[in-house]
Amino acid sequence: MRPGYSKVAVVEDDPPVLADICAAIVAAEDMELVDSATNFASGQKLVANGGFDVLVCDLGLPDGDGTGLIKMASERQNEIDIMVLTMFADHQKVLNAIRAGARGYLLKDQPLQNCIDGIREIRAGGSPINPIIARLVLKQLQPNPLPSEQMEEPLSNRELETLNLLARGFSYSESAGIMNISAHTVATYVKHIYRKLEVNSRAEAVFEASSRGILGG
């Protein structure tokens, strides 16, 4: 595999939107469209077949929830990057997807070039975030009320600082300036934060399940 070269699969039920994204991917020289699907059932097959580095996945599929596909893909291949294709990047949908294993989101109305840039960014190790999501993640991953020892993977101080700045509306480059790091590092921090959110929410789910007696021990 060439470095910086991405194999992309897309799941999207709206044909015009799907066509646009697919066309943009095909047009990009550092990307290859591996597969695409328009519903949950064919999406499952797509995930099972594998062979992609990036999965761009819509959530509101006619026959199911895209979150399920994200979870499957994340569990099957740990090293791939999953992006949610969302209309508004509203916190509920994005956070659910991140907990399922997504690492970023693309806005459906975004200029296509921005979408391609988004995919490149995530391949380079950085994730997007908006202030509302930053605020909510901060609330969930902050050391209190849970003592940090009880958290599977607590945020590092740098990550916490980053999240604080982002929640207060500073852009990646502004935050980077304040923290005296590069904007790209800020983006990678965000990706790490997403991973920790997934790990911790999975641990939380296991804890909840075991405390309810679903899992033995």
Partner: protein, 636 residues
């Protein structure tokens, strides 16, 4: 002393002379005159008689009465009387004195310790009987009597006082002390003796009986409190025992009364000790109590056997004291081990009781070691034991009551806390239900926007782009989507955090501003949350800012836009000041185009209860300031 003795001897000699002259017929039959002891007090003379002529002859009329001189008091005459007499016992005592010896006009005879029924005569004239009917069985032994003597009966020469004492055959017979003198001189002694022997014991013992009944009723309603039973029995037995100290007549059949009086002391002692054992919660107290009662019974039987053998009952008395003493040893051990003040108190009290018991034994006529304090302590000690027991118990009960009160207070507090916690949790639950309902509603709306209008708009945008539709079409579609995005953002749960709302607004507008070549400058300080801000308010604020930003984008020809937010006071009220400043061509030039938009902005500011000003900044651009109070805004 010498003086008195010489007076005594003088009178003695004088009497011999007088008697020898006056009544030569009786002289051979009568033992010579008794001794006199004259005591001069400030109130007058008192003549007391250290000895008397005693006779067991039943017929006082007989001239052949056999008088025998005996020392007074002669408390134990029953044995002699029983030998001589059949049936009930009687004895007569005679003392003589010279009429000259009494100087006052009001003369009284004082006599005490006579057993049991007495009649007193002077010079043959009966002046006093302590009974009214011949059938009466009296209890005279502990009663002092002060008998006024009509002055007319006193002869200038030799006078004779005769006391006749009678008692049941099984009772004691004896003559106590006799004195004659000035009423005022004898009075105080009589008063104190009467008080100490009769009045005080009577009052205290009746009180004790009453309290015992009260305690018994208490026990009856709380049977598990055995201390109450032992206490009431202590009172009852001591009362039974003490009754003969102050009663004048025997209330029931005299033989039975005597036996009850005798035996009740053992049970009084036994229940007293049982109370102590129960009260102090001595270990193995059941065994101790049974032993005490057993010993009480044993003592009764012993007494019965010994008295039927006609033996001295001192043995029993000493046995009783021994019983007390052995219990004291148990008590000392308990007090020592537990170091409780109650144990020490009871220990001191019981030791005192033992001492007074010994004192009283010494006063028994057939023991007669001493006269002691001049009266028996026993009728007191029963009462004091009872009183101290009751007070100890009452103290314990009061402490228990305070404890209950404390516990109640504590419980009440706990209940209140629990109630408050419950109310709080119910409130929290209601709050959660409301939030849940809101969240569900929000989700429904979101789904609607995603799947319905939003989806259609995005599809339309995609189609328009592919078809290369006019820019205005694409622009309109993009604006519609932007509007939707702002609506979605207004629904985010930001808990009144204006900064997050502004930040997200900036984030949304960033691509457009970038496209227009306008730099956005971000300048925020920490602000207090505006708790009143709900989704509706958020939307108004975002729309206001959107309007302002789109004005800048369309008309201002600006190269930068600065968004700032900081805490600020207006009219002493804390609030948040949001400023949007651009470096464009200024407010006046945009006015004509944006009048409709401005009107909407002011309306929105009014809904937010905010203060909106739009003015030209010093640097030439437009400055929009919106101040929002931290206090609740008007409901939308």
């Amino acid at each position: 002393m010498v003086n008195k003795l010489s007076i005594g001897i003088f009178w003695f000699l004088a009497l011999i002379g007088v008697l020898a002259l006056a009544e030569p017929a009786n002289a051979q039959n009568i033992v010579s005159n008794n001794l006199l002891k004259t005591e001069a007090t400030t109130s007058g003379n008192i003549i007391s008689f250290p000895d008397a002529d005693i006779s067991f002859s039943e017929n006082s009329e007989s001239r052949n009465v056999h008088w025998k001189q005996r020392a007074l008091p002669a408390l134990w005459l029953s044995d002699e009387a029983r030998k001589i007499q059949k049936g009930n016992l009687s004895v007569r005592a005679r003392v003589r004195f010279q009429g000259k010896a009494v100087t006052s006009d009001s003369i009284s005879i004082f006599t005490e310790n006579n057993r049991e029924r007495i009649s007193v005569s002077i010079n043959g004239a009966n002046i006093f009987r302590n009974y009214s009917d011949d059938g009466d069985v009296m209890l005279g032994w502990n009663h002092p009597y002060l008998i006024p003597v009509p002055i007319s009966l006193i002869k200038p020469g030799l006078n004779e006082i005769e006391i006749r004492a009678e008692s049941e055959r099984n009772h004691a017979l004896g003559i106590g002390t006799i004195a004659i003198g000035d009423h005022n001189a004898l009075g105080p002694h009589f008063e104190s003796q009467y008080f100490l022997r009769i009045d005080a014991p009577k009052t205290l013992n009746w009180i004790m009986l009453l309290l015992s009944a009260f305690v018994f009723i208490m026990w009856f309603s709380r049977r598990q409190e055995m201390e109450l039973l032992w206490l009431s029995l202590t009172g009852l037995f001591w009362f039974t025992r003490n009754y003969h100290f102050f009663a004048e007549t025997v209330p029931i059949e005299s033989q039975l009364f005597q036996q009850i009086t005798y035996y009740s002391i053992y049970f009084a002692v036994a229940v007293t000790l049982a109370f102590c054992a129960e009260f102090l919660k001595l270990c193995r107290r059941k065994a101790i109590i049974f032993t005490m009662l057993g010993i009480g019974l044993l003592l009764s039987i012993s007494r019965f056997l010994l008295s039927s053998l006609d033996r001295n009952n001192m043995v029993i008395s000493l046995m009783t004291v021994t019983l007390f003493g052995s219990f004291l040893l148990i008590l000392i051990r308990h007090a020592w081990e537990h170091r409780s003040s109650e144990s020490w108190l009871l220990l001191i009290l019981l030791s005192l009781a033992t001492l007074t018991g010994v004192h009283d034994i010494g006063r028994i006529p057939d023991v007669n070691w001493w006269n002691g304090a001049g009266f028996h302590f026993q009728p007191y000690i029963g009462f004091f034991l009872f009183l101290v027991f009751m007070l100890s118990l009452a103290r314990r009960f009061l402490r228990a009551l305070s404890l209950v009160e404390e516990t109640n207070l504590h419980l009440e507090k706990s209940v209140n806390e629990a109630a408050n916690a419950l109310a709080a949790s119910q409130q929290a639950r209601r709050q959660m239900e409301v939030e849940r309902a809101l969240e569900m509603e929000r989700e429904r709306l979101m789904r609607e926007m995603h799947d319905g209008i939003g989806s259609s708009l995005v599809t339309a945008l995609a189609v328009a782009r592919r078809r290369k539709d006019p820019a205005s079409t694409i622009k309109t579609l993009q604006t519609a989507i932007s509007d939707l995005k702002i609506t979605v953002d207004s629904l985010a749960p930001i808990e009144g955090d204006v900064i997050t709302l502004l930040a997200n607004f900036r984030h949304r507008m960033e691509p457009e501003l970038k496209q227009a070549g306008i730099e956005s400058i971000w300048n925020v300080e920490d602000c207090p949350p505006l708790d009143w801000m709900d989704a509706g308010h958020s939307l108004h604020l975002l729309r206001l800012l959107q309007e302002a930003t789109s004005n800048v984008l369309q008309h201002a020809n600006a190269s930068s836009i600065s968004l700032s937010c900081k805490p600020s006071f207006v009219r002493n009220k804390i609030g948040v000041l949001i400023c949007l400043a651009d470096d464009g061509i200024g407010f006046s030039s945009t006015e004509s185009n944006g009048s409709k938009g401005l009107e909407f902005m002011h309306q929105r500011a009014e809904v937010l209860n905010g203060i909106l000003t739009i003015e030209e900044s010093k640097t030439g651009g437009t400055l929009l300031s919106l101040w929002l109070s931290q206090e609740a805004a008007k409901q939308d």
